[in-house]
């Protein structure tokens, strides 16, 4: 009897998890391995603001009970970093020197938080929000009546900022080009959106470029944001929120086309016959626009994972955008984003 096919999924977020579940549904016998740098089984990162509403136990954030993985024979490899994918030999090399063979590879690695170059040196003093651990560190370091400075303000960040306001924190938003990422509102809409945020209580600072983040002299806690114009601002925490950059470095030897993300067909296949991609890591060919496009948002990403899995098993389905990119302000001044639809 031939060995069962080994389907490897890089990433354990919405796309990766959806793919694993779909693969199992379509093939009871195959091997499924999910490789992730995360510590926890799949949880929805869009739910992380719930931490500030008292949901601090990670068990409550999990999308499925841990037993789901063993019951469905899905090998979940956490703390695993992929350093190279060799398309010719169909092998993945992990940072801990293990080599894994794949029959099919689905890359759902997502993206890492983008940080403007001027702030890279200050990164250790800022509070990310990309994982449960990071969110909990932020929760720990930001007291209930504390002050957070958010730099950028992508849609994940805006959601967080509104939650922080609702739970008694003060938020200052220092805008930049990534504000409202992945939306790209025109100037008029952007102004409306910022006004809406200000009305909600967020202190909006425009046209100020942060230069450094430091700790207050002699203090154990707190941060000082220094701007290029020489002004400063103190806060308990500084949160960078400038969108995502696709994580594709490990794919450079894979023999697939890369632009900013992995370039895939509407069936989510790459230029390698055994490699697919889904989620925030890939740009999908849009035949109408004759361009490769990113499609963000939880629903899109999940659908991509499931679709890619079916196509890996022989289907030829085309990605149909579930949620069009849209952001608006209603008559009551509330912001609505398709990015938040989940």
């Amino acid at each position: 009897m031939a060995d069962p096919l080994h389907h490897v999924i890089i990433g354990s977020g919405s796309a990766g998890f959806g793919a694993a579940a779909t693969l199992r549904e379509n093939d009871p016998d195959c091997r499924i391995s999910m490789i992730t740098m995360d510590s926890l089984p799949f949880y929805n990162r869009y739910d992380l603001p719930r931490i500030f509403r008292g949901c601090t136990d990670w068990h409550e954030l999990l999308a499925v009970p841990p037993a789901y993985y063993s019951e469905n024979r899905i090998t979940l490899r956490r703390h695993n970093k992929v350093v190279d994918v060799d398309g010719k030999t169909q092998q993945i090399r992990l940072a801990h020197q293990e080599v894994i063979h794949f029959d099919s590879l689905l890359v759902c690695a997502g993206g890492r938080a983008y940080l403007p170059e001027t702030l890279i040196d200050s990164a250790p003093l800022m509070h990310g929000f990309g994982s449960y651990e990071a969110a909990m560190r932020l929760y720990r370091d930001l007291p209930e009546n504390g002050h957070a400075v958010m730099i950028g303000g992508d849609m994940i960040g805006i959601d967080l900022a509104l939650t922080l306001l609702d739970t008694g924190r003060r938020v200052t938003l220092v805008t930049n080009a990534q504000t409202f990422w992945p939306h790209e509102p025109d100037d008029e809409l952007r102004a409306q959106l910022l006004q809406a945020l200000a009305r909600r209580g967020i202190e909006v600072v425009q046209d100020a470029r942060p230069a450094t983040v430091t700790t207050p002299e002699g203090a154990e806690r707190g941060r000082v944001v220094a701007f290029e114009d020489g002004t400063t601002m103190t806060a308990d925490v500084v949160i960078p929120s400038c969108g995502l950059v696709p994580m594709v470095e490990f794919m450079l030897n894979a023999g697939v086309d890369i632009e900013r993300g992995l370039l895939v067909t509407p069936e989510l296949g790459t230029t390698h016959p055994h490699i697919w991609a889904a989620g925030d890591v890939c740009q999908i060919w849009n035949d109408e626009e004759k361009a490769y496009k990113f499609y963000h948002g939880w629903k899109n990403v999940r659908v991509m994972g499931e679709l890619a899995a079916r196509n890996i098993k022989g289907a030829h389905e085309i990605f149909d955008v579930k949620v069009e990119d849209r952001i608006e302000v209603d008559d009551q001044g509330n912001i609505h984003s398709t990015f938040w639809t989940h």
Partner: protein
């Protein structure tokens, strides 16, 4: 009433290869925990092979309240070598932690890294052990200490305690070794401290911090040696054999300093012959061996019974028969210890159930042997020999020999060394006592000791009956009941090292609402039948879990009392597990004897 279990109760499993410092790391962990005031039970498993081969495991259970065995599931696994640790990932409970090297330098085959085997419900902690170690010390040698430091940092265990133990451990080496290891520990500690903790393992404060300095970490073998020394052992003759060797090693170092004599003989027969000779001469004499050694010693055991010579033999059981499983535990030498040898050769057999029991039994064994003028066997096993527990020894030596009272010589009568007395115990003189010349022989003899078959029946009865009162020996726990009083659904009867698991099972059963009691039997020969019988009277069902195939203790008890027992037998080489005893208790509580589903091993034992 069920015993409440609150506070800290954490089990660490450190797993690596020989040469990785696995046992050393476990040793530091257990000693640090004991110094902090925790109760500690620990057990090390290591291979007989040379460095670089074979699996080493150090399991350490630390608790704020007394516990009685290792847990079936560990809370934390520290992998020092994935090739060995992978097979044990499944022993980590849900939401427990698995600590491992995430930056090894050598290529690993697919599936060879432990992260591929950690279940979703377990929490992985990968850390760059080698890099941390090299940055801290310039070498990779102290990775075991880095791992310890990482665990201490992660679980918020004070570093200072570890510093003290590390300094003690390396005290005989150059200061640089201690310094390197403390640097390695601190670097690991910092990494662990900086790690976001996701598991639900909580290490709280011990309840009896004040006892930390008084508590002594001992293995069963160490406890035997300490008991012997406090009892004033004069001579030890031994031949090395796993798992008893460390008794010999300890006494080889300590006994000459205490004014005694130590000799490693050419084999077990020589060892027991010399022991018997020394015992005859009035010395407190002992030897230690394992099942194969005891098989060789049985002839001299018989002579000791016949000649009524006091001496002590420690038997640490391992898997048998023959050479068997030298590094695995078993309880299959009961028959040999109680019945081995020719003729009717009743002797005293004590089977302690924990490390403190080893200390007490060894300490009292000489006195008992001398009182009853017969060999005493202290029957332990590998699991008890190598198991560490915290013991708080009495501040004063309670085992020191009392001055010997020389027997009075009746007027105008020859000294009758083997006089038939009411209690069967004859006046014992030592060689050289003026006027007490007598004959000693392995032949049946008369009261003077001279060969004669005329009194064979009386002498057999004397040698047998004189031991009966030993079941009520003052200061010695020969058997003891635990748990619910009065009538209970299930009684668990046990002996030796398995009794720890039995006690844990009993408490677990009580927590489930099953009326349950347990009795440990320390004196296997003569058997304290009266109290065991009372226990039987109180129990709807009697379960006897033991680590042998035939149910040797079950046979002993049911044969002596003529009452049925339910057997639970395992010969996996590993200790009995609480879960499997508990399953049988549940079955008995619900369905009774002969009903329900038996495992194949249980079926062969059925009921008697």
């Amino acid at each position: 009433m069920a015993k409440s279990r609150n506070g800290t109760d954490i089990q660490f499993a450190i797993i690596g290869s020989a040469g990785d410092g696995t046992i050393a790391a476990g040793d530091i962990m257990k000693r640090a925990a004991a110094l902090m005031g925790y109760k500690v039970i620990a057990f090390d498993i290591y291979p007989p092979e040379i460095r670089g081969f074979g699996k080493c495991i150090s399991r350490i259970r630390i608790s704020s309240q007394q516990t009685y065995s290792l847990k079936h599931k560990s809370d934390v696994l520290i992998s020092l070598n994935d090739s060995h640790a992978i097979a044990h990932v499944g022993e980590v409970r849900d939401f427990g932690a698995v600590l491992f090297e995430d930056s090894p330098i050598a290529a690993i085959p697919e599936g060879g890294h432990i992260s591929a085997h950690i279940a979703a419900a377990q929490v992985p902690y990968g850390f760059a052990n080698r890099r941390i170690c090299e940055e801290a010390t310039g070498k990779a040698r102290s990775r075991n200490i880095v791992a310890l430091g990482y665990a201490a940092g992660l679980f918020d265990i004070p570093a200072e305690i570890f510093h003290e133990i590390i300094a003690q451990k390396f005290a005989k080496k150059p200061q640089a070794v201690t310094d390197d290891n403390i640097r390695a520990f601190d670097a690991g500690f910092a990494a662990g401290k900086a790690t976001f903790k996701l598991d639900d393992v909580r290490v709280g404060m011990p309840q009896q911090v004040a006892n930390g300095k008084d508590a002594v970490m001992m293995t069963g073998n160490g406890a035997v040696a300490r008991g012997f020394l406090e009892a004033g052992i004069d001579t030890y003759f031994g031949y090395p054999i796993t798992p008893a060797t460390s008794i010999m090693e300890r006494l080889a170092a300590a006994l000459p300093r205490a004014g005694g004599r130590f000799l490693q003989t050419e084999d077990e027969i020589a060892a027991i012959s010399a022991t018997l000779g020394a015992g005859y001469a009035g010395a407190r004499a002992a030897t230690a061996t394992s099942g194969p050694g005891l098989a060789l010693m049985t002839e001299m055991m018989g002579l000791g019974v016949m000649a009524e010579v006091p001496f002590v033999v420690v038997v640490s059981q391992r898997g048998g028969p023959s050479t068997g499983l030298p590094t695995k535990t078993e309880q299959s030498d009961l028959n040999l210890a109680v019945f081995g040898g020719s003729g009717d050769a009743r002797r005293i057999v004590l089977a302690p159930t924990n490390v403190e029991g080893c200390y007490r039994c060894a300490g009292m064994a000489f006195e008992i042997a001398e009182k009853y003028q017969t060999p005493v066997i202290v029957l332990i096993d590998l699991y008890l020999s190598n198991r560490f527990e915290t013991v708080i020894p009495p501040r004063e030596n309670v085992f020191a020999p009392k001055p010997r009272i020389k027997p009075e010589l009746p007027e105008n009568q020859p000294y009758r060394r083997f006089a038939l007395t009411d209690d069967g115990i004859s006046p014992r003189a030592l060689p050289g006592d003026e006027g007490h010349m007598h004959t000693v022989t392995g032949l049946e003899h008369n009261e003077l000791g001279r060969p004669s078959d005329a009194l064979h029946q009386q002498m057999n009865a004397k040698r047998h009956d004189k031991l009966t009162s030993a079941t009520r020996y003052p200061g010695l726990t020969t058997c003891k009941r635990f748990g619910d009083e009065g009538r209970v659904k299930v009684g668990i009867l046990g002996w030796g090292s398995t009794f720890g698991e039995i006690l844990e099972t009993m408490y677990a059963a009580q927590d489930e609402g099953i009326s349950c009691a347990a009795m440990k039997v320390v004196m296997l020969s003569p058997l304290p039948e009266e109290r065991i019988n009372e226990f039987f009277d109180d129990c709807d069902h009697i379960l006897v879990p033991e680590l042998n195939h035939e149910g040797q203790f079950a046979n002993l008890v049911s044969g002596a009392l003529g009452r049925p027992v339910v057997r639970l037998n395992r010969t996996t080489g590993a200790p009995m597990m609480v879960d499997e005893i508990l399953a049988e208790v549940r079955r008995l509580a619900q369905t009774g004897i002969g009903e329900g589903t038996h495992s194949p091993v249980q079926q062969q034992g059925a009921t008697t």
